[in-house]
Every structure is written in C-alpha cells, then in structure tokens.
Symmetry: C2
Subunit: 231 residues, 2 copies
C-alpha cells in the first residue's frame, strides 16, 4: 500500500524545500517503500491530518499517521524491519543523534543565515505574508537584513563543516560504504538550501560537495531530479 507524505512545497508544487521532509523522503526511499507526496504550504494547517501542529513531514500509512521526521524514521525502522535498516543497530541510532544535533545546531543554523530570504522568493503571496511576519519576529531582523552579510559569513560557515569534511573525504558516506539515516539527516539540510537558493554554499572542490553529489545520485537520482539550483 502506498504511503502518503505531506511535504513542504513552494509556489511551484514540485519545489520541495524542508530539510526535515527530505530526511523522511530519503528514509522512505531507503526502505524501498512506495510513497505519494502531497505538496503542502505553510498556511495549510487544515489540509494535514487532524490534529496537527502545523508542521511537516507527516505520513499516513494505512490507518496510521506519524508526525515529525524522527518519529517517522523510528516508525519505519520498527514497522518495516525486513527492509534495509535505517540505523544499522542501536549504537548507530544513538550516535546518529549526535549527528542530528550537530546538523540542527551548527549546519542548519549556519545555512539559515545564508538562504532564509531565498525561501521567501519561492513561496506564494499568502505564505509570504505569514513567513515574513513569523520569521522576522523570531529572528528580530528583516529577512533581507538576516542574510545581508552572507558573503562575509561564508568562510566561517565552510570552516564549520570540518567534522563533516574530514569524514567524507575518507569514506563514501557518514555511515560508511553505504548511506544510512545519519547521511539523510545531514543531506536534508543541503538539499533544502539548494532547493531554494542559488547562493553557492560549497566550493567546487569541497569533499562535502562530492559527498552531496553521491547523495544526489541515490535512488535513481531522487533528489537530483527535484527542482533545485546547482549540482
């Protein structure tokens, strides 16, 4: 039976730019599960299964509804144990949490200072009004001010990727020879950035870019085929 996934979309229905949705999308592909995605916009709380917190990803698998990318990964691992493992054991699942926390406190926090305003350019008028108001209140700056010094921030951002860089220059994936959920967590952030911004966050010769290329190739080029900038 096909799983339904509610996936954050831009004004173009096939432009998908939530880092958390990309985690879930790659996890579903890793499990080899058929999925039908439903484009969902920031202001469409009513279109999600009820009750909801107004956030995606949300999946519906038969009569089960699961909210939140982490809960979705755990759900898939538990309910589809005969499919390829997302974690590769309990120790790996625990270590992946460190990588998730690094992704959320360092990587995504860095990327948002580079690309936030570009999200605004890819969403419809109603979403734009919500997004500007919500994010400007949250960050205490206009969207334009928030990323205004992004060229100056870029060297420090790239330096902050050192732990990732050193790892993927010595092995194909964070998870070793083959990718697993920790890779999808980190990749989701880069795919979010490239889905909505032409600002080149990675240098051409960065080993992180080569790893991102390997991630884009997975599952028949699932993420590479999606509307995005750069390679």
């Amino acid at each position: 039976m096909t799983i339904t996934m509610y996936d954050l979309a831009g004004i173009e229905a096939d432009r998908r730019f939530s880092p958390f949705c990309w985690r879930a999308r790659m996890a579903l592909a890793h499990k080899g599960l058929a999925v039908e995605t439903v484009p969902w916009r920031f202001t469409e709380k009513d279109k999600l299964p009820q009750p909801n917190a107004g956030r995606v990803p949300v999946i519906r698998d038969g009569d089960r509804v699961v909210h939140d990318s982490t809960a979705i990964a755990d759900y898939l691992e538990e309910h589809y144990p005969d499919r390829p493992s997302l974690f590769g054991g309990e120790t790996s699942r625990a270590l992946a949490r460190f990588i998730q926390n690094w992704t959320e406190t360092v990587l995504q926090s860095g990327l948002i200072r580079l690309v936030l305003v570009d999200i605004y350019r890819h969403i419809g008028p109603e979403d734009q009004a919500y997004f500007r108001s919500d994010r400007e209140k949250r960050f205490g700056a206009t969207l334009e001010e928030f990323v205004g010094d992004r060229a100056a921030r870029l060297p420090a951002f790239r330096a902050s990727l050192d732990p990732l860089r050193r790892t993927v220059e010595r092995q194909n994936f964070l998870s070793g020879d083959t990718p697993a959920y920790a890779d999808y967590i980190v990749f989701g952030a880069f795919q979010w950035a490239r889905a909505i911004s032409d600002f080149d966050v990675l240098a051409a010769d960065d080993p992180v870019r080569a790893w991102r290329g390997r991630m884009l190739d997975l599952f028949g080029g699932l993420a590479r085929r999606a509307p995005a900038y750069g390679n």
Copy 2:
C-alpha cells in the same frame, strides 16, 4: 598476558594527560584487558619501541607493537572480538569517525585555547624547554598569550558543545545506554583538560558535566582516581 601501554606523563609519573592516551586506556578497560602503563615524557623518544614517531599512545601486546589511538582501537576490536565491542558494528564505527573529527576540530581545538599553558606547569624542566619552543612556534604566540583571553573565550567554547550537550541530556552516553568508543574519544579531551588544569571548562549544571561524571565512574572509577582537578 599483560599489555604494555606507553602513556604521556607529567613530572609526577601518575599524572596522565594525553587525550589520545585516554582514548586507548578506556578502550583497553572496555575490553577488560590487563594493562601496565609506562609513564613517558615528550622528550623520551628513545624509550619507545623502535621505530617510532615520538608520539604516544603505543601499546605492546606480546610481540605486536601498535602506534596511534585509532590503530589501537581497531587492533583491539580485531584481535579481541569475543570481548565487548568498542564500536557495535561497522555503521557505528563509521559514525564514530564523525564524532572523532568533531572532537579534534572543535572540542580539542577549543580546549587547547583554555588549558595549553597549564600543561607547561605540570612537566619537568627538560620537557618544558621542548614544549615551550615547539608549541610557541606552532601557534605563533607565547603559551601565556595563547590562553590569555580564556575567560572571554569560555562562553563560545561552551556554546560549541551544543551537539554533545543535546545528546547526553537525552541519553546516558553518546553510544546509547552503555558507553563505547565514541564516548572515549570525547571523554579523552575532557580528561586531558582536567588532568592538567584547574580552569573550570564546564558549568556546574551542564549536562555535559553530568555525562563526564558518568564516564569518570566507569571501570571502578579508573579516570576519577587519576590525579586531576575538579570532579
């Protein structure tokens, strides 16, 4: 048969302060292997098994000599497969490399700006001459200058621990319910700092400090019993 480990020591033979040696020491304890440590000083290249790069840890296990903490962990895992696993599988071993790279590029790089000069205070005159000359050349500053603004650096250092903090406030160890090699990698850095410095790098209520306490309790308080500052 008892394994011999060459372990960086201060002027007091039992003050052991190499982060890499602590990784190996904890790994040996994890495997339940008997070890006899040999205190070794920076300038005692001739006392190590030949040939050597003048660095520790080095272990001698029967007629085998293994240099470098990472090689030692891999050696122990391969040669003592029936003992508790250091990695918990190949995916975990791969993910632990990310944590190692984070430890070396973020954690140890941050700590050295807080405690470098305190190493100098715990080593003998001959080592002091070598250490001051070598490190001042490497860092382009006197030892005292290098840590001179450490109080001002402390908030940013503590903030840089966010990925670790968020992880160990939700699970006992980086590796999950029980510790494994990734924990020893990170712990080695903190044990190095507390072995030679009374500068309090962690706030009293920091979840990282609570995790460090759990690490100090392991193996009958192996690391807690060693000469060090703080708790």
